[in-house]
Symmetry: C2
Subunit: 514 residues, 2 copies
């Protein structure tokens, strides 16, 4: 297709069978965009001098202050062996060592998907978009409430139906109605069966990371070192790598599964109040984490993460979509590229309680910064509300529509003869109009991004139709996407094998709710 999309209906050769035919019959045949490959430069906010100072300071932090790996003797042993100075759980890393260890991490890697056309290439000029991760609450037109597994499945279906979303994500909301120690099975089953997009693994216990890898092995009929999972390993900033997260990282890295190694920073609380100071800490933390992943398995796929927000210094509330967060995102992107690592940052961040103008300003500020900062994997690209406490159904649909803006912006500016349009300029001349000219007729379909949600109607039509705001439009679109949803086909034997695995595992342990 001209805009890099395709419809399920046209993928007859692979979609095959009844599901594809059913999809073809519906008006809602799934149109899906390929992940973004940028044809435009990155925005580089730091000059060479600033980059060198920050990199030098990060090395000083690692050598003089060091990082902490509490309750993790195997990690301390690995660090000692690699040449670090280990004192208690403090690991001081000589200048140059962390960067040298990072060099074995790949600059780009493929995450496979059940549908081979949905595999994503993470790194380079690419941008892969994944939905919100982690909220204990959901919100829809009925208000705010604790999230359940039914909400989770609804989000996975919405993600499957969203044209501009390349990835099904992970904990799109916390299914709080399920036992804490078993809900990862249900979440993984939802991602594996309700969509054919790639997805994320569990990190809440090292054993759950192992479960995730085992389920992926069943789903893909043997992983054979292929990367089928990407998982979010948060650093306990400042400078602390807790043993639960590191245990998950160890399991994933050993199995050649990808980890996003990501400082989680509310600026002013978990990092200095300055942008340069925060970037120094982010770089030191990511270098230590990535280096450790390479000690576990050289070549294991990892991503340079940066979740950074600012704080309202009066109330202590985290704030989103702020200029300081954008500056850090731009700077961290430069640091990641200089390390040769894929980069994760930005998202549909906002602090609003409702999917209103505040939510949209803050989200757009962050999405735009993420595209221009060279982000390669954007978690939370849609659906985030209220500082991440809430996954909002309407905002999921609204944000997912705005992701189309990023796709079209990333195409850059074509400059071939057709794009130069000199024939059109000659044909129309002063005082004419272009609507009917040959160049317009040949190009108009692919020329401009068009929202699949927003209102462009004349005032009177809009008023006659009820004068809906964006939330009202999004609620209607959500209903349409869900009613058009067709579950992608799956080998019944694989499905049964997964069910058996989960049933056996669940039966082996008592329910735990905390």
């Amino acid at each position: 297709m001209a805009d890099g999309t395709e419809t399920a209906a046209r993928r007859g050769r692979r979609g095959g069978g009844g599901a594809a035919r059913r999809a073809e019959r519906t008006s809602g045949a799934i149109e899906q965009a390929r992940y973004i490959t940028r044809n435009m430069p990155d925005f580089e906010i730091l000059n060479a001098e600033a980059l060198e100072i920050i990199e030098s300071n990060a090395e000083t932090v690692l050598e003089e202050i060091g990082v902490s790996f509490p309750e993790n003797d195997p990690a301390l042993a690995r660090w000692r062996e690699a040449g670090a100075d280990v004192d208690g759980d403090r690991v001081r890393i000589p200048k140059g060592l962390a960067r040298k260890l990072c060099a074995t991490a790949p600059s780009t890697f493929t995450q496979i998907a059940r549908n081979p056309e949905r595999a994503v290439e993470i790194g380079g000029r690419n941008l892969v978009l994944a939905p919100v991760y982690g909220p204990p609450f959901v919100r829809d037109s009925g208000g705010r409430r604790y999230a359940t597994m039914a909400d989770f499945e609804k989000f996975v279906k919405l993600g499957h139906q969203s044209k501009w979303l390349h990835h099904s994500g992970g904990t799109v909301c916390e299914p709080t109605d399920l036992p804490v120690n078993k809900r990862h099975f249900d979440m993984l089953m939802a991602h594996m069966t309700l969509t054919d997009k790639p997805f994320m693994g569990s990190v809440t216990e090292p054993s759950r990371a192992v479960d995730s890898v085992e389920m992926a092995d069943i789903l893909f009929g043997g992983l054979d070192d292929r990367t089928a999972l990407i998982s979010l390993i948060n650093i306990n900033s400042p400078l602390t790598f807790d043993s639960v997260m590191m245990g998950a990282l160890e399991a994933y890295a050993a199995a050649n599964q990808a980890c996003i190694i990501s400082p989680f920073i509310v600026g002013g609380a978990m990092a200095p109040v300055s942008v340069a100071g925060t970037l120094t800490q982010v770089l030191a933390e990511v270098m230590a984490g990535v280096a450790y992943s390479q000690l576990v398995r050289p070549g294991a796929p990892v991503v340079f993460g940066a979740f950074v927000t600012s704080i309202d210094m009066n109330s202590g509330a985290p704030t989103f979509g702020t200029p300081e967060a954008a500056q850090i995102t731009y700077g961290a992107g430069q640091l990641a590229r200089r390390l040769g690592l894929p980069f994760r940052s930005a998202g549909s961040f906002n602090g609003s309680k409702l999917p209103d103008a505040q939510a949209a300003y803050e989200t757009a500020n962050s999405l735009n910064a993420g595209l221009l900062a060279g982000v390669n994997f954007m978690l939370h690209a849609c659906g985030w509300l209220e500082g991440g406490l809430v996954a909002d159904f309407e905002k999921f649909v609204m944000d997912a529509d705005q992701l189309g803006v990023l796709h079209h912006l990333a195409r850059g500016v074509e400059i071939d003869e057709n794009a130069q349009a000199m024939d059109a300029l000659r044909e129309v001349g002063p005082g004419g109009h272009y609507l009917g000219c040959a160049h317009t007729q040949a190009n108009f379909k692919a020329a401009f991004w068009k929202s699949g949600l927003l209102d462009y109607k004349p005032f009177e039509t809009w008023a006659d139709e009820g004068g809906r705001d964006t939330r009202g439009l999004a609620a209607a679109k959500m209903d349409k996407l869900l009613s058009d949803y067709v579950q992608p086909e799956m080998d019944p034997a694989v499905r049964e094998a997964l069910k058996d695995y989960v049933a056996t595992k669940k039966a082996s342990m008592p329910d735990a709710f905390s």
Copy 2:
């Protein structure tokens, strides 16, 4: 001040008198930011080859197709004398001539203001923000209605009170209750007496441009070639310079007053559907217009304008905040810098009927693009709604708050010793927190941008206070800004002279309503 602002209360020496004292007593003392001076690079989307192709094609357009100056014999005579090929009202400009004529236009100029601290420097690394221009309707919590002079004055007062707005603008809304041929007097009086920020002149008839200059001459006690007005001269795209607009330009340029020479393009209708083709036409049009201004008066201050939006090719509706508009804004900025001219583009553009999420996404997309594109004068920076048909009071306040994001982003990243924060990193170490450390205490006040409007409160507090959305917060802030408004002091003799001028002029002509 640390963030480049100051309060009226501190400007005692000049504010003087009772008004300043009254302002000091209120909690709403006016805090005002200086215009933005960027300490960050521009985003350059076009590479050298693309720039050269577009510049070469624009020269071809001017030489082969030419531009039209209908019903304007003096203009045709000027062009003929300058060496252009004039055929009827068509002016074909030999390659190189327009660019050569543009060279006498200043790359930066000062627009004076009644308050000398509000003077703005337009060009270079600066960005001056001005409010919405032109809507026939207004909207507030009561709905949408035709704009009146009372609305106009309310907007001027809101602009005066808005910390991040540097300029009072021009036709903030059309006062449709006043005669068409006299309303410019009332609009100018409002800008001259209700605020001390710089403002714009009338362009709807050449005689009204002359009136504007004469009133500015009275206000400033003689202009002496100082630039006190900036005015919006739209080009009738494609490639047509109508005699009314050119008449206004002639009056302003002759008096050394500034003109924004601006193609007004709905892409696909008034320009080719491609970005490169549109940029070619924009460059050709601006070069012809600027060259003409320099034929009227070499050295007259002008701005390279680009008002460009895309179109929904199904309905014909213009669309805003789109990726194509952003690409054109980035590219036009590069072309303007290569011409050595100040650049005008972007704004609070959106197509929504309400100040909702759509309005905010689209606005944020455009504002961010404008900052990174190197815009020097941003008209419509706040208050625009419904494709420019409506000036919205709530959105004016919401957008004006978001302009603070641009100010802080434009500061760039500091890299001095304090910003590096190595002492803080050493003091806190792994597992600590930064809230109480010395570096945080010394820096937190100026560290992060803080909205003066948006909601950062805990959910329960927010709910207890009524669960307001952004519109509700903006309506309350608007009321506060207006109730805190104090009219800036003015020499009574100047005010009387202006009143006399307007009364005499109004008496000299019958009312006209179309």
